[in-house]
Symmetry: C3
């Protein structure tokens, strides 16, 4: 592991209009940077013609890095292929629902094509062999934001059929698992299994998606293994995980941001082959900067390996929407650290002058000169030089887990809650409510959940839950935990077949209620607030109503319920409404298991995120997401602001400027 | 014909998670049900491998049906094919504008492919031969919601070219009929007739659609003939006709409802081969339940054969939008009877646990237990046991016909009135106005119109009208009838070629006006109401203006006109505006021919629909589409509520609870 | 050149329901018409079968034209092909991103297919040879609204690769020009150049578009050359140029209007082969008639050859949206003349009775009788007979040029300013502001700009500007001109590669400011008005701020700047806001170079457009785009209204009725 906070940037000298490596390195050093990431999309530069390798620009960068004592992360270059490969072997391209992908964009290959694999293996081996021994190289990134690229090609389908055959053994078992008799889709010979691209059985399609996510994880493990053959022991292997992208703005532009759980790769599964997790997180800024995406992304990635991680791409200027206000770039940086990042790297150093991402602006504008963003990076770059060692390896022991599942995400595409309410909308609704209340949590994949670590578990729309998961949660509650589940949880099994008995399946006794009706909310209210998108009509059976619907006909049903079960509590949130209403539930629940702490006296835009630093000191990041100055009272016995040295005692006034940061170390 | 009111459900034991046929039948009997519909989408179960037939589950259902005295309708299973058929013979799939359909969904075959036909014929013959003699089997449904599935394959195109050649004989006649010289589309050898999938001549495309509708009718006749070879004399043949689907909600879900005239099959043409018409009608519920769709669908299907019909699929819980309020399921049921249905069957008995229609919920929820919907079905199931024989074979002799035409519907796609005003919007605007005023009507296909049966004829947007139709309507008025036509009527001939003379073609003398300008309404008003979408600028020529436009420039033109013509009246509605304005015209017109009756004192949400029962008694269904209680005064001399036995005399108060029903028999 | 004002119509007797050529000609003569345009879309009529030519209907029209002394323009019939050609040679169809075009629509050929060329050449030669000597024929239109039809077929791609190889010589130069190393897109052998249809490099895609525009110009030159071999010296060659179409209304209908710069052909380049430019201009009418589109189109087309032009298609009744109010058709006609048109011709004479453009209504409605539009055409047809010779060959010497560039237009598709702000939106925003202030301008292609002719140059979003253009503008200012540039000007070079130095590139000294940040405006205001879509954050460097942003953080930056540079002035408009704000800049700037004249005392809806007639008299068209009557004071010393003979002196009241026209000749 690295010995100092990483601060740096993706760096593409080959995208530059002229050679300015020395200039760039000098500017980076001046900003306090200590690391660059190179090479991950430059196959056509590294292998300009088939079998002709040219690592001269890599050598040049490494040499100058040595001169300026800059650490280097080497990316395998496989996520964008050279055109000669496509010309020679058209089958390396993925076939999607819309036909074979055309050359041009990145990330459109059939990752399981043996020819692609052979060429990829060769360039990876050559590059890693060439660089692994260089003293500046501290680690490797395998591929980038890898997914299955909508691949429905014959090869992948054949692998899927084989997987189904192994899993289900007989066609009858397959038919039964997915209810294929419906619309005459049952098969009675394996060879009659049809092309998946016309399939409309949500369960089977979701199985295909899950299967392809597994293949992606295997692909990354294959790359990690290759790199492992060459790397030095102390060098890390990482990958750049991204999140579901919320698109807005112009169709042809990249306008959008990191929103929620990624549908096309399972981060937990894929992270197993890494020595350290990495991620990119992009988020609204200016008046829309809330810190929620930074926290969500950080809590997700930290929880993968229950360890620190690197923000391999964080946002510099990006789109026109996000030109940072003064102070915001610094606030971004500390916000990442507050989630447990061991460093941040900009995407990217400079703004690119042509091509698809010309307006995904880097730290430098197109003029490649000093600008306000760069100047602000210099400010906290210098701060980190001084205090960085006290910020590294921040450890958290959160008592709350928010459980996510990309199979349930797929389920909610095929069985939509509402046109305007996606799985990730529910996830963010439940996560953001915790975040705004300053209740920190881990974001845990349902298959990675160790319930014994937590006092409170939250499940947003956990549509698909197998019996094992349901049993685990039931025991968690009966052993004294607090479970808070939203509508559309525990509906279906692992094949997305709805459980044909009392809902919520396997947990209706735990929740002390059941339902067999749900509805569009219409005019219904709950606690005076409009119910939106979806409402389950809950019938008490041992539990108690926290709130009934306010509605002529649905008034006889509960909307939110609570139940004492064993030593614990189970809360059920039967409908979507304003966040205030679930915050009330969280507050009550959190009080019951005693996890409300000093931070809970504050709420967004004053965010506090805490942890233990490597010296065993408790740190509290005080992050201020507002353009208005404000004064708060210190909730801690005695703390010192690492950045200014100022000391505060309980009740002292702490003045927060717009977009301000304090890092309070308990003393 | 059946001897009792049918009350039952579609039933798919093969879609069930476990065998519960006996349980289901017991629950059905308890609800008063007497019929199930089976088999219509289960080819892969019936013929699991090519040429291997397995009717064991049919036999099982029939055996249990006998035990519980449940009648059975057998559906031919052809609307969803097994995957082995597609694998063996890819050409059975329809080719559409988007290429060859992929296996997965239902209703994507090329119905004219000889291989498909051979396999379909065999499974139909086997199934009908196997079941026709069973005593529980009362009838057969051929296929389901059959259409041409967007088929533009070479085979269908060849049939179309042959049809054109037979119809027009010379290419010159073809060119002339459709004005093909435009944009160089004229042909001078039949072999130069191009692929229709690029055609942009609205008339020719519409001809192709009409031709394919005809092919669909022939396909159903072919199935009816096959079934006819086996069925017993008393067994009926029906088909499940559906309506144009108004989509809303999530793309991937089925959210939507039965809105208007069906574009892809001509019900009238197709119904000729049936012994009884059948239909499915889905409609908004909860706060949006108006009864209008139930009435529209019923009036349409009843008019096909001028006879009673079966609602083969009526809505149980369906989508989340339509979880019924208490009382609504019962109101739905009586509303269907009030239009002349001889029974209703739910789609479907149970909610399906996986696949495309998981959330098109049946009477039972996914837990397969007693629930509020089932309980309410039990209530009126028991009522029907008592009073059903007095409700059967309700006969109507309506004096008003609303004329519909799916060729005009197609016309309005290619020659849109407005982006936001479809043909069916105009149909529903004119129909719903009658419905809300309690003026009952038949909905008659333009080619089935016997004008002599009616006193009043309404034509919404009858864009395409051949000379015969125009002559028929002209004579109808001159003989004393009332014609009420909307804008965009009588514009074009049967090839959608606009008549090159005075508009409305052939009827401008009848209407006493003409126009050669029309416009987007802009700021124009009529009777103080905003004109929307379309306005014809009517010039009087013998007729009188009911209302002129209120507008600086268009004020010189009439918007609504009336004319005395022969012994009758002709009204013309030159623009779209609020329903109140056309209701005024209806009221005046109806008074003139004396068809306003007692019911006209009421209006929606109090709906009265009447008819003669099989005992020759006059029945009046009093249907209350409101959540507010209300009291009305009995408009009849002396009536008895069949359901409660209560007797009312003229002027007595009748109390209507929310979503209430009274069935008043004249005594 | 023609000796009298052209007044006429496109005429398609072959689209008529019956022979009425004599009737039509009589009606035309009665309306004062003197010219028809025929044949341009009638290949299948002229060559009904391969190699069989039939010019009989042409002969008929020419004969009757002679009888009625009607001039004729012959169109080459190549923009719509007969179906036999597609059947025989499927490769004549363009291949687009969506595959090979299907027969049916017009304008879907591969114009570079040699077979297409051979057939096209033959029919052109035959037709022109057949008609050139006829005394009525005054000129020829080559093809119609020609573009490249989205052609990405292999042939066009091969031509493009050849062009790139010739232009860049080495792949390294190519890579460098477009920054292809990004995402591994660099090539190192010419044969590795990939299929352009998957390309996402905005610069390279734009180069491909520019290249195809060039091919289109060459295609037209080829047709002009063919025609030139036959035509008499006095016969003209024209082409019908159209504008970017702003679509609204129903998808399937043609609802829309002529909005801005055409993306798919470069008018300037293509006009070189013509003897006179022609155009079609369609525009909103009724309450939305502003005259702006007529002026924009006229200023654009007049500037191509700096000469008069013909409006080959002007709007008769067109869509339902545009049924003209009384007076509007006449106002349209004079508005065209006021821009320098030497005549107008309706599209088209009659409304078509079937096919794609049935509701793109002509002067006659579908009833082919006298109607209000025709009657109004008669009015000004008669006026023109009297005064036409005084209106011909109107010459303008505008002092303002608005510079347009369809390469910058493409750039703004790939590098959008905003989802809701296109290049043409910026063009129209800057043009319409001038128009509404009565400052007349030429609209000049960036490659045709002779800066020495102008005192003021306006550049809307001139994203791509090569060094030559930048140098030209810099000298223009330093020599005393006024340059007014909007945001997103001078950003990138001719390959759309952003200049990697100070923005605005090459002109920051001229403007006295620079910027290296831009942003979504958020809450920013300028002069109290909301900034929309885009804001550059301008830092003064010698210049002065006209207005700063009103915003907590951006308030330190200027929004609008002015600089004295050399003998001239440079204004920069850094953001989009209401037109009032740029009008203020225009006013100040125009005053400085003394180009504000009497007309500037008026503003829309009173529009004055001026020029010198062929007798050397100064004419002022006073055009009134309002339904309200109004009185204005004569700003001229002494003028006479050509239409009424009335004389006005300075300060006299001139009464304008709704949609009124005065043509004031200085006396």
């Amino acid at each position: 592991m690295n010995r100092e906070l990483l601060f740096g940037t993706a760096y593409y000298p080959e995208y530059m209009p002229y050679d300015r490596i020395e200039t760039d390195m000098k500017m980076m050093k001046q900003a306090g940077m200590n690391v660059i990431r190179i090479a991950e999309s430059t196959w056509s530069t590294l292998e300009p013609r088939e079998s002709e390798f040219d690592f001269s620009y890599i050598d040049r960068v490494l040499a100058v890095s040595e001169k300026y004592d800059m650490q280097v992360i080497i990316g395998t270059p496989t996520y964008a292929i050279p055109s000669w490969l496509e010309r020679k072997e058209p089958d390396v391209m993925a076939v999607t629902d819309k036909g074979r992908k055309k050359y041009g964009h990145r990330q459109l290959m059939n990752l399981w094509n043996p020819v692609f694999r052979a060429y990829a293996e060769r360039v990876i081996r050559k590059l890693i062999a060439h660089t692994a021994d260089h003293p500046q190289v501290i680690g490797f990134q395998i591929d980038n934001e890898t997914k299955y690229y909508g691949n429905v090609g014959e090869q992948v389908q054949a692998m899927f059929r084989e997987y189904l055959r192994e899993t289900f053994e007989t066609t009858e078992e397959l038919n039964k698992a997915f209810y294929l008799a419906y619309w005459s889709n049952s098969i009675h010979d394996w060879e009659d299994f049809p092309d998946m691209s016309g399939c409309v059985n949500g369960g089977l399609v979701a199985e295909f998606e899950k299967f392809r996510r597994k293949l992606v994880a295997e692909y990354l493990a294959w790359q990690a293994e290759l790199v492992g053959e060459y790397k030095r022991k102390e060098q890390f292997i990482t990958h750049n995980f991204d999140f579901e992208w919320k698109k807005f703005g112009a169709d042809i532009a990249q306008d959008g941001y990191s929103y929620g759980v990624q549908p096309d790769i399972n981060h937990y599964e894929a992270s197993k082959c890494l020595t350290i997790a990495g991620t990119d997180i992009y988020h609204p800024t200016q008046d829309e900067l809330t810190g929620a995406e930074i926290a969500f992304g950080g809590d997700s990635i930290r929880s993968l390996k229950n360890d620190n991680y690197i923000v391999l791409e964080c946002q510099a200027q990006a789109f026109k929407y996000w030109t940072p206000y003064p102070g915001q770039l610094r606030l971004h940086a500390y916000s990442h650290l507050a989630s447990g990042a061991d460093g941040i790297m900009y995407w990217n150093w400079h703004s690119i002058h042509n091509g698809y991402e010309t307006y995904w602006r880097g730290l430098l504008s197109h003029d490649l000169s000093v600008n306000p963003a760069y100047e602000e990076a210099c400010v906290f770059g210098q701060e980190w030089k001084k205090v960085g060692s006290r910020l590294m390896h921040l450890k958290k022991e959160n008592q709350v887990a928010l459980v996510v599942d990309n199979h349930s995400l797929t389920a909610c595409k095929w069985f939509p809650i509402d046109r305007d309410l996606s799985y990730n909308d529910v996830v963010r609704w439940m996560y953001d409510s915790l975040y705004e209340m300053n209740i920190e949590c881990d974001i845990v994949d349902v298959h990675a959940l160790d319930a014994s670590k937590y006092k409170m578990i939250v499940t947003p729309a956990l549509y698909s839950a197998d019996e094992e998961t349901i049993g685990k949660l039931e025991r968690f509650v009966s052993d004294g935990g607090v479970l808070i589940s939203s509508f559309r949880s525990f509906v279906a099994d692992e094949h997305l077949s709805v459980y044909p008995d009392t809902q919520p399946h396997g947990l209706h006794r735990c929740f002390g209620m059941s339902y067999n009706q749900f509805t569009e909310p219409g005019k219904a209210l709950v606690k005076g607030k409009k119910v939106q998108f979806f409402a389950e009509l809950l019938k008490l059976d041992g539990g108690e109503s926290i709130a009934d619907y306010e509605h002529k006909y649905w008034g006889r049903y509960a909307a939110f319920t609570h139940n004492y079960y064993g030593k614990g509590h189970a809360y059920y949130i039967g409908c979507y409404t304003e966040k205030d209403v679930i915050k009330d539930v969280y507050r009550t629940a959190a009080e019951e298991v005693g996890i409300l702490q000093a931070e809970s006296n504050f709420s967004w835009p004053v965010i506090i995120r805490s942890g233990m630093n490597q010296e065993g000191k408790k740190l509290h990041y005080l992050l201020h997401y507002s353009e208005k100055d404000r004064t708060v009272l210190c909730p801690y016995r005695s703390v010192q602001d690492i950045l200014t040295g100022e000391i505060y005692r309980k009740g002292d006034s702490i003045t927060l400027k717009d977009w301000d940061v304090k890092i309070l170390e308990e003393i």
